[in-house]
């Protein structure tokens, strides 16, 4: 009847690697599903010896950590791969980066050398939100109003309907500066946020919605959002750490640029 796959079971996992990738420029408009398809093809193109799940529709063993939304750029997205053959991390980085379209860039690969799930290390994100057409004073007033509030409930339309969440609570820091070189003399204020990962998630647009609520803050054009980092949170210092550091340290590899 052909109800179970013929042949031997898939080869075992011999190595796990984690990598950080960036979603840059126009490719920030890719969705997470778009990235998943692109990565699975890149793994095949690069000849990465992936471990596969058993069963009829065998899937390469890839674990994705929480991904930035469509339209949001990122310097710090994370993926873990299970491999059926050993690879040298830097060779893998180069091969994978060359096999992905420009703008989906593999920044660093480390071998998993420490226990614990990668996702558990992603406690918070650091966001940079460029706001063309907004002057620094306006932004500062809005940010102050946000931080002065205890709770700001915002609504967002999700697949499961409208949901309400507190967009103030998870905000650890909100600092403002002006862009160094505004284009065409249009001012551009830049908001840097450190936001704790909570369930349901609070995203930069939720925080902006909160600022609209408390300070009537409405950017004239869509903001450009970039995730600068995600990882363990040092709440006192409002600093987001590097989730690959423990594995890198255990392997004795210096941090990449």
């Amino acid at each position: 009847m052909g109800r179970s796959p013929e042949g031997p079971p898939p080869p075992p996992v011999v190595q796990r690697v984690r990598f950080r990738y960036a979603k840059r420029g126009r490719l920030r408009f890719s969705s997470h599903r778009d990235f998943q398809r692109a990565l699975e093809r890149a793994l095949r193109r690069a000849g990465v010896p992936m471990a596969f799940s058993a069963g009829f529709t065998a899937h390469p063993k890839v674990s994705y950590a929480g991904a930035a939304a469509t339209g949001v750029a990122s310097e710090a997205e994370y993926v873990e791969l299970a491999l059926a053959g050993r690879v040298e991390p830097e060779a893998l980085r180069k091969a994978l980066d060359a096999s992905l379209p420009d703008g989906l860039d593999v920044v660093e690969v480390v071998e998993v050398a420490t226990p614990g799930a990668l996702a558990d290390r992603l406690e918070a994100s650091e966001w940079e939100i460029a706001l063309p057409g907004v002057d620094l004073g306006t932004l500062q007033r809005a940010a102050t109003a946000l931080l002065d509030a205890e709770v700001v409930e915002v609504q967002r339309l999700t697949k499961n309907g409208m949901r309400t969440a507190d967009a103030r609570g998870p905000v650890v820091a909100a600092t403002c500066r002006a862009a160094a070189q505004p284009a065409d003399d249009v001012p551009c204020a830049i908001l840097r946020l450190v936001v704790r990962h909570v369930t349901p998630s609070v995203r930069p647009d939720d925080v902006l919605a909160a600022m609209r609520q408390v300070a009537d803050f409405v950017p004239p054009v869509p903001p450009r959002v970039t995730r600068l980092a995600q990882g363990p949170l040092d709440a006192a210092a409002a600093v987001v750490g590097d989730p690959l550091a423990p594995d890198r340290d255990a392997a004795g590899v210096p941090a990449s640029a």
Partner: protein, 645 residues
């Protein structure tokens, strides 16, 4: 002068539209050349959404063939969805290419590939957004030359007012020849402006330029004749035929989209053309003769394509893939080669015989056997003789028995409704057939866990086929017949749950029929529909039958003809058909005889196995059937992997 990218302006709109990734380009294996490095610049359009247009093989082939030329540049453009169209109009962003985001209006040529006539309104949207006058007559040297291609270009008369030129047949060599003409004309200092350029194209004999042909009508609305209005253009324009597919191994590096598309796989065309002689099938008629790619040529394309793309599935594409003379060797060779690599192989088009099931078994080696598709097309043996689909009921039952016994649990059957001479009974026999299929499956497997899906749509008579004279069935009768079939299937207790029923209602088919066999007077209908907001007519949620009918009655008011005249009217032998001056190689007398044979239920053999030159294509076009076997086999490949630690 370099042409500026419109991306900064577009980028500001993308946060507000659905699936913005489809507009940003940058796909793996895409090409952006320096504007000034090229002397001839093509914008290639597939007039549907990106998710449909990107996987289109024809567009992908031409994109690569053109960009391989050092002084030619080709970029792609697709239809934008209405949400982006509205924003582009509001913010003055023109129709753009996804490669360099250059305005389409700045290119020398705009090549549009029409797989279906339902893309015509989308062409008008693109022209309008590009700032190109809708009417070819209103364009000047600053505007691109609009060239139509694809199967619908075998009767481009309904869009004759909007296009500057049409190319019939295979595009690979044709686009290079057109590029040569444009290059020389520009090198000469663009003498005589646009008219001279179009005349040079028309004089080449391989490009149809509608403005050099006048259509005269009889008082009753039929065409009196189509006659050249310039002494140097040919009376008839011939189709292009590429010989030796091994010399044209395109696409070598298929595009890999980031956005999800309708075909999430790589395709390799294993042969072109089909001589099965199914009388309804325009593709089979206009792509003659059969030209096979060799087994080694196929092996190289599969290998090279997989390395270039990373796709996990390869489709072996053609009009009837199991007919390749070495398909068993191809299937076994590829299955051996990619065993254990989690690479899927498939034959998208299948015919009704047990051999085909063996092939599918081979390709699905060790994998899931979910569903197989067969196309008997007609429900009764009588109607299958009319359409020359030589499949007996025994063939079908034998085939599905083999399929179910070898582990396939679902069989999909494709049919048409509204075929010439068809009665309710011919269609109702589909219900009986489906019941026998389920019986055979239950017997073969001893299980009730098998299914059969009947999929049926309305038949649309097409130009350059023996059915080009036939009356199309009106949509009311089509729908009534489909409902009777649905009820007959549902009423069959004990089987109804095992039989799925999918149908396409008859209304879109009437519009397709109007556009397929229309003449130049239909152009006014297309324009009126577009001006009334008609877009994306291939999509149920956008298509409006009522709008088409309302616009048609207004636009055709003074012509004496109407939608019925174009669709449900049977033509006589002597009638001048709108596409008679366009030469597909098929002898009109042969087509007529085959039409008469159809009415008498007579069958025609396949000329691959029963030598025959009667259809006229090989004589007229100077072509020959190219089939194997070559006797060669596929060798295993060594797999290159990332450097190990």
């Amino acid at each position: 002068m370099p042409v500026a990218s419109v991306f900064p302006a577009l980028e500001a709109l993308l946060p507000f539209v659905n699936k913005p990734i489809q507009y940003v380009g940058g796909e793996l294996n895409s090409t952006v050349k320096e504007w000034d490095s090229a002397s001839v610049r093509w914008a290639l359009m597939y007039p549907d959404a990106y998710e449909v247009g990107l996987p289109n093989q024809g567009s992908m082939i031409l994109y690569e063939v053109l960009n391989e030329q050092p002084d030619v540049l080709a970029e792609r453009t697709y239809s934008v969805w209405p949400d982006l169209e509205a924003l582009m109009r509001e913010h003055g962003v023109p129709q753009f290419t996804v490669d360099g985001h250059r305005p389409v209006g700045a290119f020398d040529l705009l090549g549009i590939s029409f797989s279906t006539e339902l893309g015509y309104t989308n062409m008008l949207t693109a022209l309008d957004l590009a700032g190109v006058p809708l009417l070819a007559a209103d364009r000047d040297t600053s505007h691109p030359v609009v060239v139509a291609g694809g199967h619908a270009a075998f009767n481009p008369e309904p869009v004759a007012d909007f296009i500057d030129a049409a190319v019939l047949g295979d595009g690979e060599q044709a686009v290079l020849e057109i590029s040569d003409v444009v290059r020389r004309w520009k090198d000469d200092g663009s003498p005589g402006g646009r008219t001279e350029l179009l005349l040079r194209l028309a004089k080449s004999g391989g490009v149809y330029v509608p403005r050099f042909y006048d259509v005269e009508y009889l008082p009753d609305g039929r065409i009196r004749r189509v006659v050249p209005n310039h002494p140097e253009v040919p009376w008839r324009v011939a189709k292009h035929t590429v010989m030796d597919l091994d010399e044209w191994p395109y696409p070598k590096a298929p595009l890999v989209p980031l956005a999800e598309t309708v075909h999430e796989r790589m395709s390799v065309e294993i042969f072109r053309g089909c001589t099965r002689g199914c009388r309804f099938c325009q593709a089979g008629m206009i792509t003659r003769p059969v030209r096979e790619r060799s087994i080694t040529g196929i092996g190289e394309m599969v290998d090279r394509g997989l390395c270039a793309t990373g796709y996990e599935e390869v489709g072996l594409l053609s009009l009837s893939s199991a007919d390749h003379s070495e398909i068993a060797e191809v299937a076994k060779g590829l299955a051996d080669r990619y065993e254990g690599t989690f690479t899927g192989l498939s034959l998208p088009s299948t015919r009704v015989d047990a051999f085909n099931v063996e092939l599918a078994d081979e390709l699905a080696r060790g994998g899931r056997r979910s569903g197989l598709t067969f196309a008997p097309e007609g429900g009764s043996e009588r109607i299958r003789a009319v359409i020359n689909k030589m499949v007996t009921e025994d063939d079908l039952i034998r085939t599905v028995t083999t399929a179910y016994s070898s582990g396939w649990r679902q069989v999909k059957l494709y049919f048409m409704c509204g075929l010439p001479t068809e009665t309710d009974d011919d269609v109702l026999q589909i219900a009986a057939l489906a019941r026998k299929v389920i019986e055979a499956g239950r017997r073969a497997t001893g299980s009730r866990d098998i299914r059969c899906t009947v999929s049926i749509g309305g038949f649309v008579p097409k130009p350059h086929t023996p059915f080009q004279w036939a009356a199309q069935l009106d949509h009311e009768t089509t729908d009534a017949r489909l409902y009777k079939l649905r009820d007959a299937i549902r009423a069959d207790r004990g089987y109804a749950k095992a039989i799925g029923f999918r149908y396409h209602d008859g209304k879109p088919g009437i519009v397709e029929g109007l556009l397929s066999r229309g003449d130049r007077r239909v152009g006014a209908v297309i324009r009126a529909v577009w001006e009334d907001g008609g877009r994306f007519d291939g999509w149920g949620e956008h298509f409006s039958f009522d709008r088409w009918m309302a616009c048609a009655s207004a636009a055709l008011e003074d012509t004496g003809v109407d939608v019925d005249w174009y669709t449900t009217r049977e033509r006589a032998q002597t009638e001048v058909l709108p596409w008679d001056h366009l030469d597909s190689g098929l002898d009109k007398e042969w087509l007529w005889e085959d039409w008469q044979a159809a009415l008498a239920g007579g069958e025609v053999e396949d000329c691959r196995w029963t030598p025959c030159y009667d259809c006229g294509v090989c004589d007229q076009m100077g072509t020959e059937i190219q089939v194997g076997p070559t006797g060669r086999t596929l060798l295993p490949l060594s797999v290159v992997r990332v450097a190990g630690a």
